[in-house]
Symmetry: C2
Subunit: 192 residues, 2 copies
């Protein structure tokens, strides 16, 4: 999406270690026009896919998931991150390793809110190695729900998580697809 790419070029800051700082418009301060347009673009991409629920994970995925939910008219469920492994029967839980923070957590949703009849669209702000996305996929599997695909604001293609999912037949859409950030120069993948 052109607006996302332009915003990344104008506002994004490339830090050492392949980190892209987008706090000024996406994951701490959130630009309202970009947020609205991102939700509408995700709705356009998944129009007709039969999505009944959007699944995201706290905290920085919530805004874009909420915008997509409003645009699509489907409920938004956000998974929580718990430090401890909770064996409560009322929840679905899966362990996730965060490469960003170097920590492990349990990704948790209430069993009541994700059910076998659901067709899920996974939404997040970033897709890099795909760990959080794989956690959400596991929650969908545990619920016996179906997966429509995934949509993220920014994919860091060079970290491989998105293409690994695509190779498994999972539909993955990214509004800004960054192919490389070498020497601080951001290059986008060309449109398919």
């Amino acid at each position: 999406m052109r607006m996302m790419e332009e915003m990344i070029l104008r506002e994004g800051v490339v830090l050492p270690g392949g980190v892209l700082k987008v706090g000024s418009f996406l994951n701490q301060l959130i630009d309202p026009e970009l947020l609205r347009a991102s939700g509408e673009e995700i709705a356009r991409l998944y129009d007709g896919a039969g999505v009944t629920k959007i699944l995201t994970v706290e905290a920085s995925g919530i805004a874009i998931a909420a915008s997509a939910g409003v645009a699509m008219g489907v409920p938004v469920l956000f998974a929580k991150k718990h430090r401890s492994s909770n064996v409560d029967g009322d929840i679905l839980s899966t362990p996730v390793h965060s490469f960003t923070h170097g920590t492990d957590y349990n990704m948790v949703v209430s069993r009541d809110y994700l059910t076998g009849g659901d067709v899920c669209l996974l939404v997040d702000d970033f897709l890099a190695n795909g760990a959080a996305m794989r956690g959400m996929i596991e929650l969908v599997r545990l619920a016996g729900a179906r997966l429509a695909g995934a949509a993220v604001a920014i994919e860091k293609v060079f970290q491989g998580g998105g293409d690994a999912l695509r190779k498994e037949g999972i539909r993955v859409e990214a509004l800004g697809k960054i192919e490389s950030m070498e020497n601080g120069v951001i290059r986008f993948a060309t449109a398919d």
Copy 2:
């Protein structure tokens, strides 16, 4: 707001200890129509107030703040909850006690994203004793910004936080204003 009150009556579950469970439409699974309407109602309430930034706190305040931001066309900033006191000069930080979880945390925003020129609207899902709201007010004060007021999805009037703020001259709007939940019966405050 009628839609919020109807949803609370239809879906809310009163638990022991004055807890209202609204996970099925507000703070885990989020209803898209309620979310859109809540954002538009907050925009209507604060129309003309000169708001330049919406401030909320992760995680469950983000969706409604995002919806209000889209409706008002102003950026949304979400404060983070840190366990440790970070003395980094680039952040604004204030300690908050969470009565819900019985824990303390530091509420943190980047200094770059909240500045002296801002007129802030504080948005959250719940207002009970007001601890989180007071944390946000302190961040606004630390930034030298101005406060337009606060808007929450649900105020538990009987816990006193909202009225204490109003007594200090702070404008507080609630879309659903619960006066009492005795014996599991939810009663709303009548409109002013």
